[in-house]
């Protein structure tokens, strides 16, 4: 059985049709249908309140540290969910393992507190 490049022509047509339909509907739908543009319409949505200042301002590194620590301890809670679901199956062994895990994290938490990582001033 011989194949020539002409046999692939339907695939090309199909591709063009698929791309053409997507691009076409995007452009046509912007032409059809009602539309309204104004200064107020194009502003950022801030719950209807006038936006003040620029979002690109420097912010405290302290905040960054607290945010990172939050993420860290937040992920710890995520690990607890599957354990809580399988609590009965895993039994005392699972409780021990989770206890060790929590203990290590609490040591880390006290380390953070000792290093004054959560002190805002």
């Amino acid at each position: 059985m011989q194949t020539t490049q002409v046999d692939y022509f339907p695939i090309l047509m199909q591709t063009l049709l698929a791309i053409g339909f997507v691009v076409g509907t995007i452009f046509v739908s912007s032409l059809l249908g009602p539309k309204r543009n104004s200064l107020n319409k194009d502003k950022n949505f801030e719950c209807g309140i006038e936006s003040v200042g620029n979002a690109r301002i420097p912010f405290s590194v302290k905040y960054f540290l607290v945010a990172i620590l939050f993420v860290l301890f937040d992920v710890e809670v995520i690990f607890m969910y599957p354990w809580a679901v399988n609590f009965r199956d895993m039994g005392f062994e699972g409780l021990m393992k989770m206890g060790i895990f929590m203990f290590l994290l609490i040591v880390g938490f006290f380390y953070v507190m000792k290093k004054k990582g959560l002190e805002w001033e």
């Binding site: 249908g33 009602p34 539309k35 309204r36 104004s38 200064l39 107020n40 319409k41 502003k43 949505f45 719950c47 209807g48 309140i49 006038e50």
Partner: protein, 183 residues
């Protein structure tokens, strides 16, 4: 699906039917599609908002009317539901939210306060939201029961279903917007 008694489907609009084709007016199809997928933007400031929470929840279930998705941004919302007392200081905020909604957009004033100021006939309260934005449907009650809110939504569906696709470009509509100073 269509055989199931629990699921109610929207009837096809009047038109010419044959084997393999169906011809009808664009207005009716667009109206039908819009009316059955009104995405609400709840603007709840007081007790009517609590009634709307009941309307949203499983017992009354506004999702049955195609309003499944609450939109807390005006960008993808079709139907602004203003529920509660609108103080005069709140009026520019409400107006801004309305202005940032994409066309086509509809407004329901839920409850006496949003419709007319209600019992708060005082210097600080807006005497009806139609002072700042055009309103399509008014729902009476203080606060209205969820059934009344649903009835308001159904009345709005009637309006949406019969609205011409050209209405938003018509001079009457432009005039209405201009009368509210909305460009």
């Amino acid at each position: 699906m269509s055989n199931s008694k629990d699921i109610k489907l929207v009837d096809a609009p009047p038109g010419v039917e044959g084997s393999g084709f169906f011809a009808t007016q664009l207005d009716t199809v667009v109206g039908m599609a819009r009316a059955n997928s009104l995405w609400p933007l709840p603007f709840a400031t007081s007790c009517c908002g609590i009634e709307f929470m009941a309307t949203m929840a499983s017992h009354y279930d506004v999702a049955r009317f195609g309003s499944e998705r609450m939109s807390f941004s005006p960008r993808q919302a079709d139907m602004l539901l203003v529920m509660g007392t609108i103080a005069k200081k709140m009026a520019p905020i409400l107006r801004q939210v309305y202005e940032q909604m994409a066309e086509p957009r509809w407004v329901i004033a839920v409850g006496a306060c949003a419709s007319s100021g209600g019992v708060f006939d005082t210097y600080s309260v807006l005497q009806g939201i139609d002072k700042v934005i055009p309103v399509d449907v008014y729902v009476p009650g203080c606060p209205p029961r969820p059934e009344q809110i649903l009835d308001g939504i159904m009345r709005l569906q009637d309006i949406v279903r019969s609205e011409s696709v050209r209405r938003r470009n018509s001079p009457e509509y432009q005039e209405l917007m201009a009368s509210y100073n909305i460009t």
